[in-house]
């Protein structure tokens, strides 16, 4: 009897839910919590995941990735392939067709000119486009008619789906952004905070680093969607507050990136108002080594630039020793529990691209000490810190304010101390650290520290743009408003050459081998990047939010148009 009642109730709930489904805006308001507050909605001006994801509610690419990493059309009518004639035989051209009758949220039609303009916008000189890697190698974009976009690459492009796919490469409206090309990009505040888009929602109010309010886009292509009339996207606080707001108090429906420790995870789940959702993708928590000198003695504009190589960390042996001294399994057990696993790779997935590099998984403290001795760093005065030529082996280790990262800092500091390295810790507000503000000394791009720890990933399934971040010409500096993606200031002509080869190789196995080699160059060969933990995406979802599907290959808000209220 009880079961029957429950089943009947479930059926009734379903009927109600599907009835509500049929109408746009019938499910009221959905509240989303991004504790790293959103600072812009224009993905091209921010390398912070939070900005890209928030922007994806409004701006859409031609195609996105589903939860399995497969491409699916968004603004495009279908995915171009060699079979349907969308990709030319010589692999230098891809032809996208837009869906019929697409409208911007202001009611004007979406045309191929907007797509072409987006490319021009991101490749304009001095624009500091943060997603430049997505548009590598494009020769021209032609628009034979209002629906058709023909992209011609400089060379055969074996993976031609980079431009205009995924949350990091959305289409901008030409009419709105026309005046924002090049150096004017960052000053177009109105445009960057209230972009006109094609997505399920449009911005009604934007308070920088605080709240974004959105409402259903009346011109969204599916008349029945989205089910929610309003979205409130709140920033501020920390991961724990975010998790608690969904799991315990139920104030929010979804909280992004609720990185909290394993004990707390169990505790929160007992709250019963929501559940944690995770998906393993390409997110790797890593320690990035600064190859340039961040010393405060250098004049502003020369700190952490290629003019001055790092006095200590330019030595590969020191970097290797630092990696060997770390016990990655302990980090996982303390910080992530089931939501993480130790890794030595920058590219841990998809399987075809993941190197079998596992050498770093066991800690080797004695080996680390030996390497430091070999490199000439010896503790001569008996204070436990090594010296060389009168200079102490002392480094500044920065990261964001986050309980797990502070625990990691304390543990890693302990191991490095044991190896004879003096470590000074610093923690920075995540909004500032990832904010990308060229005026702030504390952003991760400026890197005014010797090593820094954060997590990064690539969207989509092709690592080429991700690997392209480590090209010599992507080094951030004052000349490009500190917007480059080569955070380490790593520069190796051999690496650049391999990337060039990658961009012309069509065979998937060969591509896999190349990526693995490049991954090894950055990690086990040079230890410029010290990967620590492969992190699943870990967010909190309210039990009353229906239709949510976790995705590790695109933005987590990728299917916000399908979300409903479970009644």
């Amino acid at each position: 009897m009880k079961l029957k009642t429950a089943l009947l109730g479930a059926v009734a709930a379903f009927t109600l839910a599907s009835a509500a489904h049929a109408e746009r805006g019938s499910d009221g308001e959905v509240k989303i919590f991004y504790y790293q507050a959103v600072s812009t909605l224009n993905a091209y001006l921010s390398s912070g995941t939070k900005d890209v994801e928030a922007g994806s509610l409004v701006l859409e690419p031609l195609a996105g990735f589903d939860q399995d990493g497969n491409l699916f059309p968004r603004l495009a009518a279908e995915i171009p392939t060699a079979e349907n004639g969308g990709i030319s035989a010589d692999q230098t051209q891809i032809t996208w067709k837009l869906k019929d009758g697409l409208l911007w949220s202001d009611g004007t039609p979406v045309t191929s000119a907007d797509v072409k303009f987006t490319w021009e916008y991101c490749t304009a000189p001095d624009g500091g486009c943060a997603q430049g890697a997505k548009y590598e190698g494009i020769k021209t974009i032609d628009t034979p008619d209002a629906q058709t976009v023909v992209i011609t690459f400089e060379a055969p492009k074996p993976y031609p789906y980079q431009p205009f796919t995924g949350g990091t490469a959305p289409i901008l409206q030409k009419a709105q952004f026309e005046a924002c090309l090049g150096a004017a990009a960052a000053s177009c505040t109105e445009q960057n905070s209230k972009p006109i888009g094609t997505g399920p929602f449009m911005v009604t109010d934007f308070k920088v680093n605080d709240v974004v309010t959105l409402e259903a886009n009346p011109n969204y292509r599916d008349a029945a969607k989205p089910a929610f009339a309003k979205v409130t996207l709140k920033g501020g606080g920390d991961a724990l507050a975010a998790a608690s707001a969904v799991m315990e108090t139920g104030e929010f429906d979804y909280a992004w990136n609720t990185q909290i420790n394993p004990d707390q995870q169990a505790q929160m789940e007992a709250g019963g108002k929501g559940k944690f959702v995770n998906a393993f993708g390409t997110l790797v928590e890593r320690i990035e080594i600064n190859m340039t000198d961040p010393s405060a003695d250098l004049p502003e504009g020369e700190r952490s630039t290629v003019k001055h190589p790092h006095p200590i960390l330019s030595d590969a042996k020191v970097r290797q020793a630092m990696s060997m001294a770390i016990d990655r399994q302990t980090l996982v057990d303390v910080g992530y529990g089931g939501a993480g696993r130790p890794t030595c790779n920058l590219v841990p997935a998809p399987a075809a691209y993941a190197s079998d590099n596992t050498g770093c998984l066991t800690q080797d403290m004695e080996g680390a000490k030996k390497l430091l001795e070999e490199a000439g760093w010896v503790d001569t005065d008996g204070d436990g810190i090594r010296e060389k030529d009168g200079k102490k082996l002392s480094i500044l280790y920065q990261t964001t304010v986050n309980p797990v990262r502070q625990d990691f800092q304390a543990l890693v500091k302990g191991w490095w101390n044991e190896a004879g390295i003096e470590v000074e810790l610093k923690s920075i507000d995540p909004g500032v650290f990832f904010g990308g503000d060229a005026g702030s000394p504390d952003t991760f791009q400026k890197f005014y520290a010797d090593v820094e720890m954060y997590a990064n990933n690539f969207d989509g399934t092709d690592p080429e743009p991700y690997m392209a971040q480590y090209l010599c010409d992507k080094i951030p500096g004052p000349d490009n408003q500190w917007q480059g993606e080569n955070i380490n200031r790593f520069c190796d002509p051999a690496y650049d050459a391999m990337l060039k080869e990658l961009s012309t190789t069509g065979d998937l196995t060969k591509r896999g081998d190349l990526v693995k080699k490049m991954n090894d160059m950055l990690t086990k060969d040079s230890n410029v990047i010290i990967p620590l933990v492969d992190r699943g995406r870990f967010s909190a979802q309210s039990n009353s939010l229906g239709g949510f599907v976790m995705n590790s290959w695109d933005t987590e808000l990728w299917n916000a148009q399908d979300w409903t209220r479970v009644k």
């Binding site: 707390q264 800092q409 304390a410 610093k426």
Partner: protein, 306 residues
Amino acid sequence: MTDAVAPKRAAGPWAAVWAQFRRHRGAMAALILLGLLAAFVFIGPLLWRIDPNFIEKNTAKMFKMRNLAPSLAHPLGTDQLGRDMLARMMFGGRISLAVGTVAMLVAIFIGTTVGVLAGYFRRLDNWLMRLTDLFLALPLLPLLLVMMFLFRDAIAGVLGPRLGTFLLIVLAIGVTSWMQAARVVRGEVLALKEREFVLAARSIGTPDRRIILRHILPNVLSPVLVAATLGIAAAIITESVLSFLGLGFPPDFPTWGRLLYDGIGDIRTSPERVVWPGLAISLTVLSVNYIGDGLRDALDPRIRGR
């Protein structure tokens, strides 16, 4: 009659203050409590010799040492990385108390100077009080954040990260919390300078400097001391706020405020980790306030002896 007064005078005015202070039970209890707290943080580490940042090297052991409840080996338990809470509380208290005291001294020095100058010299009054209003109108937390943001690296470069941060925090708190003291002192001085003994001093040609030092300052001592005690409490709390926002001391440098912040994450599983630093901050603030209360009563000659 004169015989009866003479021994009292020989004992000096401070003896009378002390006698009166001792009668204030709350203040005496607070004084003892503060003394105990000070002994805990300054003498404690000499007896309890565990390094507050010590993490067990052996991983298997380290995992067993995490989140321990209070026991004989760790009277206040351990934190999420197996560090001894008692040692961290002692170390953290040193910083918190030092910040509170020094920041208060800075604030009181500025406040008294501005207050006395404004109250005594009519020409300066308007300017200085508008300056005080200006500071009162400034939103303090953003101002503190900007100060930390602008000067932290520069000062840390000269003095090292720890001393540099200490100095900056102390100065930042001092510079932003002198206004109440200045206003109170100015009010007192305005009333005092019309009193007969000041007029008398002036009539015999005593220079302003001497009048201020000899007649005015001793008489404004009571409001200054009260403001000072309140200032300590405010400074400890402000330091906690800065640590909480990641702009205080480096993350491996425990202060009571930071311990509180670190403990919040585990408030459900190990509530004592929040309780200890919270209790320490509350007790310090409370006892300092009571002492201030007692001092005010003791220093006021109209109440004294009643």
